[in-house]
């Protein structure tokens, strides 16, 4: 091994090893593993009942149910990921820059012959790598267990759907990661940035829904409203909901994991008339979630650009 690694990868390597060795990450990992196996367990127990009473025994997407089924005691896998993912992203990013600044290591690293953006890019890359490996390992683990316990291998399409679902989850976590990295540049105290990130997350998951409900109630059209008005109203409320990244994620994952979902908005009778009541192929499902996907990517990129420019302009002094 004579190759000398590029400084960027040296930083990435160090960041990854820091994450993996940190208590914080291991606690989060433990939480995620726990919920993952919990939901797998409930999924499998309900799967047995489900198949017993199922009318369509030849459901082509039997395997995907591992990720979506639940008996009600524990939410299914994809809901859990949607819930814990932001926490993971915030956990990996909230002290990315300010802890280095507070411990005086940032100015020391900056005095090394590297470009300034290496630091922030490497921080992002490292956390992204860790999250990707974690989710793919987790997803494949669930698949493996499913295969062993249920005894049915997934079809190629199911496999692809799961891969897309995992990619989407990584992207979703990346959004929160970038947001918290931005906050870590903006706020000097790690606690402030963590709390702010959690506040934003809570706002979006709890309070935003409430606000949208208020707005929806206030704007409810009269009984005599025309169908166009009703549809416009529905669309408007949906679009309000879709400002929230978690809504985008939920929309996208449910569509990917439940092929029977044909549309995320209201459908008129004319549109459904004559449609064959069968699951959509992967390409069509992807087409439905394309706007959600782009929205999530855009959100992630915006957060990254914000943190990048904030970091490049920051004057780095010792402590």
């Amino acid at each position: 091994m004579n190759r000398i690694p590029h400084p960027f990868w040296v930083i990435v390597q160090k960041e990854v090893s820091d994450h993996v060795r940190s208590w914080r990450f291991n606690v989060l990992l433990f939480l995620i593993l726990l919920t993952c196996f919990g939901s797998l367990y409930t999924a499998i127990t309900t799967l047995v009942d489900e198949t017993a009473k199922a009318s369509d025994a030849d459901d082509p997407y039997f395997f995907l149910k591992l990720f979506t089924l639940s008996d009600g005691s524990l939410p299914p896998f994809h809901v859990f990921v949607g819930f814990l993912g932001p926490l993971l992203g915030i956990g990996l990013g909230f002290d990315a820059i300010n802890s280095e600044q507070n411990s005086g290591t940032l100015s020391r690293i900056m005095a090394q012959p590297i470009h300034r953006d290496y630091v922030i890019n490497a921080k992002f890359t490292a956390a992204f790598l860790v999250v990707s490996i974690l989710f793919f390992a987790l997803g494949f683990l669930v698949m493996g267990f499913g295969m062993v316990i249920v005894g049915i291998p997934p079809t190629a399409e199911e496999f692809l759907r799961i891969v897309f679902f995992l990619l989407l989850s990584v992207l979703y976590v990346a959004f929160w990661l970038n947001l918290s990295v931005f906050l870590s540049i903006r706020f000097r105290q790690a606690a402030t940035s963590a709390l702010t990130a959690i506040a934003i997350w809570l706002f979006f998951t709890v309070f935003y829904q409430l606000i949208v409900h208020f707005v929806a109630r206030a704007m409810m059209p009269a009984d005599a409203a025309s169908p166009q008005q009703l549809i416009g109203y529905q669309q408007f409320i949906l679009n309000l909901m879709r400002v929230v990244p978690s809504q985008l994620y939920t929309d996208a994952t449910t569509t990917l994991l439940m092929p029977s979902i044909r549309s995320l908005g209201p459908l008129t009778m004319e549109q459904t008339y004559g449609a064959i009541p069968s699951p959509l192929p992967l390409g069509q499902s992807l087409l439905i979630v394309w706007p959600q996907l782009t929205g999530l990517i855009a959100g992630t990129v915006v957060c990254f650009v914000l943190s990048y420019s904030a970091f490049m302009r920051k004057e780095i002094r010792s402590r």
């Binding site: 004579n2 411990s103 020391r108 012959p113």
Partner: protein, 327 residues
């Protein structure tokens, strides 16, 4: 005078209305130890940041090793080692791992990095503690680890920002000795910023005095004191007498004072409690001693004071007050 390795020309940095560094011109010769001396907030750290290209100057330019630090900071940072004040390390890594990280960011191969790091750790006296977590290092050890960290890249210039802050006196002396020997052995130019006069006086070949963003004087300590205090007495003899059993207005004291002032070379005599301060144009310790004893005073100690950085500093602080207000 050799070639200059750091050159600042008309360097200015403003933060809004506040001018941190004001048209600074400075050149530092290769191989010397230069002390940048000034009170807190004088703009020393800002100047250093601009030398490394970590902050952009509002106007003016910096050249280090002939390279423009503002437009080409990477090349400068390859040649310059910088030890920030209150240097930090990754607490969860050992001292050795911290240095290895720096070495690998500087593109040393794993084997070279290990060799160099182990050599440097022994050199700064941390060979024993190299596998201890950096979080458990004492302040002095951290500072020495910092010095090793700076030397990992084998720099031509090292910049130390307040390197002796918060170390005990013995630690300071060891640290300064280390800097001097490193500078002599490895032909490294050292720029040391400090507000500790005595330390700067001990190790620096030349000194720049920096107040409120302006360089007020530059040169070695002897030159500086000559230039600044030519209008005053070059010597001050400080004599401490035994005052036990004497009244405050004992006539013998007044008598001694009048006799002293009659001496040809004595320009002033001042009495403060039990101390005589005798200003003179020549070293006349022996005469003063004899005269005091003759006057029937018990002489406890006698010393000659030359002007040091302390006085230079105080003088500029007095003058610098007005700068401080306008800045």
């Amino acid at each position: 005078m050799g070639e200059s390795i750091i050159e600042l020309k008309g360097l200015t940095k403003r933060y809004g209305d506040f001018t941190a560094v004001d048209h600074l011109d400075l050149s530092i010769t290769k191989g010397e130890i230069f002390g940048l001396l000034g009170p807190n907030g004088a703009g020393k750290s800002t100047t250093i940041l601009m030398m490394l290209g970590l902050t952009e100057p509002t106007s003016g330019g910096v050249r280090v090793c002939g390279i423009d630090a503002t437009t080409n900071p990477i090349e400068v940072k390859k040649r310059v080692g910088y030890l920030p004040d209150d240097v930090g390390f990754y607490d969860q890594l050992s001292g050795r791992e911290n240095l290895l990280y720096t070495a690998r960011i500087n593109r040393l191969s794993w084997r070279d990095a290990e060799q160099r790091v182990d050599m440097l750790l022994r050199r700064v006296g941390l060979g024993e503690a190299s596998d201890k977590k950096a979080g458990r290092y004492s302040r002095g050890m951290r500072q020495r680890l910092g010095l090793a960290d700076v030397l990992v890249k084998n720099p031509a210039v090292i910049i130390l920002d307040e390197p002796t802050l918060g170390i005990d006196p013995i630690g300071v002396r060891e640290f300064l000795d280390l800097i001097v020997s490193l500078s002599r052995e490895e032909q490294v130019t050292v720029l040391l910023s400090s507000h500790h006069l005595h330390q700067v006086q001990q190790v620096c070949d030349s000194v720049g005095i920096f107040v409120a963003g302006k360089l007020l004087a530059q040169g070695n300590v002897v030159e500086l004191s000559k230039a600044l205090f030519s209008d005053r007495e070059p010597y001050i003899i400080e004599a401490c007498i035994d005052k036990t059993g004497m009244a405050d207005n004992d006539p013998r004291i007044e008598q001694a004072k009048s006799r002293l002032i009659e001496l040809a070379d004595v320009t002033s005599v001042r009495i403060d409690e039990c101390r005589f301060y005798i200003g003179s144009t020549q070293d006349m310790t022996a005469t003063v001693a004899r005269m005091l004893v003759d006057s029937g005073l018990g002489l406890k100690s006698l010393s000659v004071r030359e002007y040091g950085l302390d006085d230079i500093y105080t003088k500029y602080f007095e003058g610098g007050e007005s700068y401080g207000k306008t800045a």
